[in-house]
Amino acid sequence: MSNRQYIQGGIGLSEDDIQQGKVFFAEDSLNCRYAWDMGVAIERYLRELKNGRIIAKSCNECRRIMVPPRMFCELCFRPSDDWVFVQDTGVVNTFSICYVNWDASRIKPGETPHLPAVIEIDGASKGMGIMHRLGEVDPKDIKIGMRVKAVWKPAEERTGAITDIKYFKPYQEV
């Protein structure tokens, strides 16, 4: 006995069916917008990014220094405690070399691929990383464990956004 008889439906359409208008479809696009409030913790995080520095928050129970900062510790489930500045340097925990844009389109020939990474921030608790991008580096030279430092936009161009850090670049301590 086989399950074949209990597989019904799922009529596949081809590109031709669509292109040549052999099937009807309705198109729609929304133009609705959001205005998100930043919240207490991220408001301060962004304000300090505008100042060219990274701020974290501590939990005095589990002793974590948490970045991005948060108003409550999700592990201890209590209000977090102190604002703490951390470094703008860190270590690459993992990375990718990505040839696809956010909407699944491909980057143009010759364009530098996207270089996303998780960066463990110096001064925050071990393993506390943020997602950002890498730059000023040949993709083939990127290594997990590599030390990196933030490259900031000039002060007058900063707007209080995660993109006030343009990217992180390889960094040798002197």
């Binding site: 209990y6 439906g9 799922g10 998100w36 925990n93 070399i97 990505c98 040839y99 996207h114 996303p116």
Partner: protein, 385 residues
């Protein structure tokens, strides 16, 4: 808690773009599941369904919208959604409707139609990231997988070729599944030579977007024994959600999967899962994920999984056959429906009805798992004959 059995299963074909609407797909799968156990909708007391982001359909009350196609008319009907984990989570959701004693029969239906989203469903995944601290960096879903896969490979010294073996295995196995959207066999070279999307992920390391639906019928012990002499029991269920601060978790190990698996094994009375489980259907949207999840499910020792894979341990005639359905890589990945497809597969396998995919040796115990949200949730179900 009462014992709960799966007594019927059905699904649609998985296709790149379906003519049918989400409701029509749901109807096809639901009707097939009812037919498979000789029931009519009037025999069903409640409906539990699952579907992933509303954004794909652009109908932001998808549960209610789908209800008619799921047999939900004038019945207690409830939807769950935990991202990619929805398909396996939905049977847990249905399970407690019956286990609680409230209902004797429950339809569990999962549907996904990704092709509505233009130009590509990928773009809609931007909205799962934090709007302020992440979305401004214009991430896509491939980033998550590529970052996790790279970390996993680096931690254990696995190679891209090691990871590509999963796609070869699952895609060729999937050709035996009558619902698969694929027709052609692939080789290791095909995978490794396919376009690099986001190093270390190539195009053929990734399961395809799909449209489809899958459904099962659940019954209490009393009803199940009246209706079939081959009930498949839900022996254990588990689920766990980790923090959305995913940059804080080291991605090489899915600890939330282990939590969910331990919960399900404890309920099923399983002490040594790697010895007791006969079939595994780990979630495999990307090749490496199947291996990552085998470790989280405690079915393979951390860092040794590639060796076991290469040794044939996970082959159809191996010690622990992995993804006999062909998985998401081999059948297709209409998100919620893909997880439910794994439940259907365990049902057919444990009844000996899986046709040319049948795992030899009368398998008695299987586990299915799915994973979702910001790499933070796993749902695990153990089923036994």
């Amino acid at each position: 808690m009462r014992k709960v059995a799966v007594i019927g299963a059905g699904m649609t074909k998985f296709v790149r773009r379906a003519l049918e609407t989400p409701k029509e797909l749901s109807f096809e799968a639901t009707k097939a599941a009812l037919d498979s156990c000789g029931l009519r909708l009037e025999d069903i007391e409640c409906v539990a369904h699952g579907s992933a982001p509303d954004a794909f359909d652009g109908v932001h009350q998808k549960g209610e919208y789908l209800a008619d196609g799921c047999g939900g008319w004038n019945k207690p009907t409830m939807r769950v959604f935990v991202g990619g984990a929805t398909g396996v989570h939905a049977i847990i959701h249905g399970w407690y409707h019956v286990a609680s004693g409230m209902f004797d029969t429950c339809l569990v239906v999962c549907e996904e139609k990704m092709s509505n989203a233009m130009p590509h469903a990928q773009g809609f995944f931007l909205t799962i990231f934090d709007h302020t601290t992440e979305r401004a960096l214009q991430p896509n879903l491939l980033w998550i997988f590529a970052l996790e896969k790279n970390r996993y490979m680096q931690r254990y010294g696995y190679t891209k070729e090691d990871m590509a073996l999963v796609a070869v295995k699952n895609k060729n196995q999937g050709l035996k599944h009558p619902a698969s959207q694929f027709k052609d066999p692939v080789t290791l070279e095909d995978i490794l030579n396919s376009e690099v999307m986001a190093y270390p992920v190539n195009r053929l390391d990734v399961s395809p977007v799909s449209d489809g639906a899958a459904a099962v019928v659940l019954a209490s012990e009393k009803v199940a024994k009246r209706l079939t002499d081959k009930p498949v029991w839900v022996e254990g269920v588990g689920w766990s959600l980790d923090t959305a601060y995913w940059g804080t978790r080291d991605l090489y190990y899915p600890r939330y999967t282990e939590h969910a698996a331990r919960m399900a094994y404890k309920m099923a009375g399983i002490r040594e899962p790697h010895k007791q489980i006969n079939i595994a259907e780990p979630y495999d949207p990307f090749g490496y994920k199947a291996l990552h999840h085998m470790e989280g499910l405690l079915l393979s020792p951390r860092g040794k999984t590639v060796q076991l894979l290469r040794d044939g341990y996970f082959d159809m005639d191996g010690n622990l056959p992995m993804c006999p359905s062909g998985g998401l890589l081999g059948v297709g990945n209409p998100i919620a429906a893909a997880g439910m497809m794994k439940i259907c597969e365990l049902f057919w396998q444990l009844r000996g009805e899986a046709g040319e995919r049948q795992v030899p040796g009368n398998p008695k115990l299987g586990v299915a798992q799915a994973w979702g949200d910001l790499m933070q949730v796993s749902s695990v179900v153990v089923m036994g004959s």
